[in-house]
């Protein structure tokens, strides 16, 4: 299945893009997606457990993804 990954701020700078597609095995979790993401150049900038949102809601590593999900990797927020 295919999911969309969004990257922001320092993570987008490090990985050189703000959006990419990943093909994962059906039933993959957020944690497995992060594992795949770590294979890419610049991924050393990601912390061990980055915040993640799936379809615009914060999600835990064990969440099982579905085809077409949008997974945002969220750097430490600095609003306010």
């Amino acid at each position: 299945m295919s999911v969309t990954v969004l990257l922001f701020a320092s993570y987008a700078d490090a990985l050189g893009t703000s959006s990419l597609r990943l093909d994962l095995e059906d039933g993959s979790t957020v944690r497995q997606l992060l594992g795949r993401l770590r294979e890419r150049a610049g991924a050393h900038a990601l912390p061990p457990e980055p915040m993640v949102a799936v379809n615009e809601r914060y999600a835990r590593g064990e969440l099982v993804l579905a085809a077409g999900d949008t997974v945002a990797i969220i750097p430490p927020v600095a609003g306010g």
Partner: protein, 147 residues
């Protein structure tokens, strides 16, 4: 009743925020304004840029307003968070709350700004006087080693 939270590209009009929450039953009105400072962590700042995961940030801001409403029996809340490039002394956020009594207004206002800083997906890049730019990581700034 006003339950209003949004991202804005234009400067925040604090008078308009106050007007949106004012009603004759509200005895206490509180306005918090976050302002771009000229110095952060000892470095001279010349400007700031906020970027957001906009649909999620707008939804989180709305959720925070609604949750504050329930938690503090608050009927009048107006929040604006600026995105884009800001000059020094411009407001990055304005939070106006009004309540019949002041205790709830203070508690709600403080709770809202802490929640915004904790969970709304907005990032800040500081532009320094020496021409460099850097994304601000508040989790790092809080570490004792940084002092």
């Amino acid at each position: 009743m006003t339950m209003d939270a949004r991202l804005v590209r234009d400067p925040i009009n604090t008078s308009a925020l106050l007007a949106r929450v004012s009603r004759p039953s509200n005895g206490a009105v509180l306005l918090f304004v976050g302002v771009v400072r000229d110095v952060n962590d000892g470095r001279a700042v010349s400007g700031i840029e906020y970027s957001a995961y906009e649909p999620m940030a707008a939804r989180e801001l709305g959720d925070i307003a609604r949750e504050a409403g329930k938690r503090f029996s608050l009927e009048d809340i107006a929040i604006e968070h600026r995105v884009g490039e800001l000059a020094l002394e411009e407001a990055s956020i304005g939070i106006a709350v009004a309540h019949p009594h002041r205790a709830e207004a203070y508690e709600a206002s403080r709770w809202i700004i802490e929640e915004v800083k904790r969970r709304v997906p907005i990032w800040k890049r500081e532009h320094y006087a020496d021409g460099t730019r850097e994304w601000v990581d508040p989790t790092r700034a809080a570490a004792p080693a940084r002092t």
